[in-house]
């Protein structure tokens, strides 16, 4: 099959089927069987269809037409397809093929345009490379599992009378309402559509469109229990925090748009057959050997910007703000664009400092947490960083790395003290996303993307397992669980698989391990590789190792508290039961993926390597920070780095598991005593580093205050100016009226009388009748008299 024509069609079909399902459920969801059970089946059908299309695209079209790069050193075999793409010819980079990777194969095009202004175009289009296809498969497979699981999990919503125990009405009863089964699946379908939209997007504007759409789906899904105030607040928080990120993204987009004039990722031919260059080839032109080089528009724009004058003439020489010795032309703008786009990713992927929304988002039903808030949507931020990777300058990458590093550490520490099972997993998600960002920021493109895929499977699995537990014991609090291993073995052991995968369990220095083993080790290797060439950033080398230790600790703490030991709440324990097969089935499937997806025989790594953006393999140096070097990813595989990094990762993870076992399994140390002895630290972590409080005082309150000021200003200043001028007008017109209509004397007398009357009325207000106030008036009057006299004396009476 010809990939050029079939891939877009297949993926578009996979993309649009959930939309169709959404539209059908919106219009007819109510009528699909009792409480809309048919909507669930329709939605499952849609996503499974998507999955089938995606898998066909992967195994039927992509893999047969594209060879894996045999080895790193080998030259790129020139691509055989003749698509709309201008595939790179090999002459230009064959001479330094070691440092420069080949052009990835991609297919891009536009479906339709949102608006065209001269050469500017905002379009809806596609950009398909191996990463796109891999993401499609990952998203659709996980989404299918979650949809099926949700059929069981959301079973309560099928009842005519759903009792929401978390909502207490003013009458003191719990809320009774009709089930909303179909609505849940309606949102899920819309979400799948939007998520696929991000993945397939052919330009940044389209990414932004679907970025907002997944945001709103997330809003609906977090706030699915609309009656719960906590849920709707969490939904608002999620959306608004994401909007803050989007604000940054808009700035990045503006910087790009006004300097480069296009949003498209790849090159495409227009109707006239000319090639319109996309962002990637504009920013990494062939002439500079695919290294980042700001185009002329960007250099001019930066000059204009630093000149500060919007009408500054282009003919000016370099402005004084730029040091002529260094080649920073356009680099600042590039940096702004990169960091701006990254801001969007910070919001969506819940990175520090915008990570606060994700834990609260756990108010949504568990399948949502599994699909939206761990496997796919939050990973979209990482995906966008990966997609936009060629356009990040080394300095922007360093920012990304530091943000990732801070995030992974903060989130991991908070997860240590959390007792809500879903919140532990949420913080773990934040932490893992931090790993991915770190990896990308350090130049580990494949490592980051690889972790994105493996993490999606095992974190989805972990969430679904936690959902299964919650379904059984009706609480999120781990302190009420314990010993559930015997009651629900499938859940317990699949979750154990997930835990092992996330800590990266495997035989060190071998090729045997669970999926997390491969991706996590790759990240740590990349970090060490980076640390070895940039000793000034050593913290980026050690943070992931420390993170690995904490990860292992809290994941096994979670497992032990839930499944091992003695049941702490016998009542709940007695009622617990293994979940139905519709729920355990997806668990087993995902567990299989969590074990095996990273195995070299499945070539996920090689598939991603195919999609590596051109020019990103070679080591690059910063232009603004001249001592910054982003190492080539292949340098991390040299034994000098790989062996110590692998051992460090293994040992720390093992240590974490051991510590967790000592405290929570063997109970050699009493956790409560530990809590007491580290009380300040525990309190700090328990309160999540006080981020919520801090933001409340720093941002939310001031915003509200400013808004009240604005409203006050409106009512009291602008309006009173208005009223005063109206009153003056009225008074003036009255005076004129009196002068003209009546005799002058009468008018004067009347004015005087009314003036006296008015004065009297006004003075009346002073007559409060309160003795004490009068005394105050006397005192104040005396003071005023003194002051007046001294002023008069000082300024108005000439000194003789």
């Amino acid at each position: 099959m010809d990939p050029d024509t079939t891939l877009p069609v297949l993926l578009m079909a996979a993309w649009l089927v959930p939309l169709a399902s959404f539209v059908l459920i919106v219009l007819f969801g109510k009528y699909m069987g009792p409480r809309g059970i048919g909507a669930g089946y329709l939605s499952v059908l849609a996503i499974v269809t998507s999955a089938i299309f995606s898998l066909i695209a992967m195994f039927g079209v992509w893999l047969p037409n594209h060879d894996f790069p045999a080895a790193h050193e080998s030259e790129h075999s020139s691509s055989t397809h003749d698509g709309a793409v201008v595939s790179a010819t090999d002459e230009s980079h064959s001479k330094d093929s070691h440092s420069n990777n080949p052009h990835p194969d991609y297919y891009t095009g536009d479906w339709y345009s949102l608006g065209e202004f001269g050469t500017l175009k905002l379009t809806i289009g596609y950009y398909i490379d191996s990463l796109t296809v891999a993401m499609f498969c990952m998203v659709s497979v996980i989404a299918s599992c979650v949809h099926i699981y949700a059929l069981g999990y959301m079973h309560d919503e099928l009842h005519e009378q759903f009792v929401d125990h978390e909502v207490t009405l003013s009458s003191g009863e719990h809320l009774h309402r009709k089930g909303r089964f179909y609505r849940f699946f309606q949102y899920l379908s819309l979400f799948c559509f939007s998520m696929f939209g991000i993945v397939i997007a052919g330009n940044v504007a389209m990414v932004f469109v679907f970025w907002e759409l997944v945001g709103i789906c997330s809003y609906f899904l977090i706030g699915f229990y609309i009656e719960r105030h906590s849920a709707s607040t969490a939904a608002n928080k999620a959306f608004i925090v994401n909007r803050i990120g989007d604000f940054g993204m808009l700035i990045g987009m503006m910087a790009l748009w006004s300097s480069v004039g296009t949003f498209a990722f790849g090159d495409m031919k227009n109707e006239k057959g000319e090639v319109e260059q996309g962002l990637f080839s504009l920013l990494r032109p062939e002439e500079s050997e695919y290294q980042l080089a700001p185009p002329a528009g960007m250099i001019a724009e930066q000059k204009r910007m630093f000149a500060g004058d919007p009408n500054a003439s282009a003919g000016d020489a370099a402005t004084p703000a730029i040091d002529p010795k260094r080649n920073t032309q356009g680099q600042w703008l590039l940096f702004i664009a990169g960091v701006g786009i990254f801001c969007g990713c910070v919001g969506k992927s819940a990175q520090f400092p915008l990570h606060v929304w994700l834990p609260d988002a756990m108010e949504g039903p568990t399948p949502v947490s599994a699909l939206v808030h761990s496997a796919t949507m939050v990973a979209a931020g990482v995906y966008l960083v990966g997609r936009f990777y060629p356009c990040f300058s080394p300095e922007a990458l360093l920012v990304i790395a530091y943000v990732g590093c801070i995030t992974l550490f903060i989130a991991a520490t908070i997860a240590i003290t959390a007792t809500d099972i879903k919140r532990v997993l949420a913080y773990s998600t934040v932490s893992q996303l931090g790993y991915m960002m770190l990896s990308l920021g350090l130049g580990g493109w494949v490592a980051g993307m690889f972790h994105l895929i493996t993490h999606a499977f095992f974190k989805g699995l972990l969430f679904l397992c936690s959902g299964s537990v919650i379904h059984a014991v009706h609480t999120n609090d781990m302190t009420f669980m314990g010993g559930l291993r015997k009651k629900m073995p499938i859940t317990a052991y699949t979750m154990l698989v997930g835990c092992l995968a996330i800590i990266g369990a495997g035989f060190p220095l071998s090729v045997y391990g669970l999926s997390g083993y491969y991706s996590k080790d790759a990240i740590i290797e990349q970090a060490w590789s980076f640390g070895s060439v940039n000793p000034q950033h050593a913290i980026l080398k050690w943070a992931p190792v420390a993170g690995a230790f904490i990860t292992a600790f809290y994941m096994f703490r979670l497992w032990y508290m839930t499944f091992a030991g003695q049941p702490s709440d016998p009542h709940r324990y007695d009622h617990a039961h293994e979940s139905p097969r519709v729920m355990t089935g997806p668990l087993i499937v995902l567990a299989a993926f969590a074990i095996g997806i990273g195995w070299p025989i499945f070539h996920v790594n090689d598939l991603l390597e195919q999609g590596r953006p051109v020019g990103t393999l070679s080591a690059t140096h910063g232009e603004l920070l001249t001592n910054l070097t982003i190492p080539s990813e292949h340098d991390s595989h040299v034994p000098l780095i790989k062996i110590p990094a692998g051992i460090a990762a293994f040992c720390t993870a093992l240590a974490g598991v051991l510590l967790a076992s000592i405290i929570y399994l063997w109970r050699l140390l009493n956790p409560d005593e530990l809590k007491e002895s580290f009380k300040p630290l525990y309190g700090f972590l328990w309160n999540k580093w006080y981020f919520d409080e801090l933001y409340n005082y720093l941002f939310v309150k001031p915003t509200l205050i400013v808004s009240h000021c604005a409203a006050w200003f409106d009512r009291n200043i602008i309006d009173s100016i208005l009223h005063t001028s109206a009153a003056i007008c009225k008074a003036c017109s009255k005076v004129v009226d009196a002068l003209f209509d009546q005799t002058v004397v009468d008018g004067t007398v009347n004015t005087l009388a009314s003036g006296t009357w008015g004065l009297g009325l006004w003075l009346r207000k002073i007559q409060t009748g309160s003795l004490r106030q009068y005394v105050m008036f006397i005192v104040i009057g005396t003071v005023a008299l003194f002051v007046t006299i001294s002023i008069v004396q000082a300024y108005f009476i000439p000194t003789s």
Partner: protein, 190 residues
């Protein structure tokens, strides 16, 4: 350094007492204690008057004021001092406003007092030379209409008469006002 000029020492002593008890009157919320502090403050003021060379006025201060007026006041306190009126708290806002205004006035007055050089007081040498003149006789003569200090000026007979009559009228009025009423309503209330 010169030796201590004792009148100054006593001035500071008495003025300190007077001010301190005046402030105590202000700050105390218990009406009984206030009355007590007031007595002390007024007594100390009498001392200041003695120091200023007005011994007759000082004596009158002690006799009429401390001895008479304040006893009247204390009667008033006793007549009305039911449990709920002994301590009446003032609102904090009132305190703040009052202190702001009072502070401003005090600043202005003190500033004005010290900004006039003639008011700064006499030199030590002059002070040591002072021989105190008794004032009782001049006052008594003045009240009778004859000035001993400056015969060309008139005495104070007329004001004295006016004050006397005024005092009489006032006392009658006070007695009239203060007489116990037996209105119907108050009987019904009981």
């Amino acid at each position: 350094m010169d030796s201590i000029y004792w009148p100054t020492f006593f001035f500071y002593l008495f003025s300190g007492l007077a001010c301190a008890f005046a402030v105590a009157v202000l700050l105390s919320s218990n009406i009984v204690r206030m009355a007590f502090y007031l007595v002390l403050s007024l007594g100390a003021t009498a001392g200041l008057m003695f120091l200023a060379g007005a011994e007759f006025v000082g004596a009158m201060q002690l006799l009429i004021y401390v001895g008479g007026t304040l006893v009247l006041l204390i009667f008033g306190v006793m007549l009305t001092s039911q449990e709920r009126f002994v301590v009446m708290k003032t609102w904090a806002g009132d305190w703040v406003k009052a202190f702001l205004a009072g502070g401003a006035l005090l600043f202005i007055l003190a500033y004005a007092a010290f900004s006039i050089p003639e008011w700064r007081g006499i030199e030590r040498t002059e002070a040591d030379a002072i021989v105190a003149q008794p004032t009782v006789t001049p006052i008594a003569m003045g009240l009778l209409g004859a000035r001993t200090d400056d015969p060309s000026r008139a005495g104070y007979l007329l004001p004295f008469e006016i004050v006397s009559v005024h005092l009489l009228v006032v006392l009658i009025g006070a007695a009239y006002l203060a007489r116990a009423k037996r209105s119907r309503s108050s009987i019904e209330k009981i």
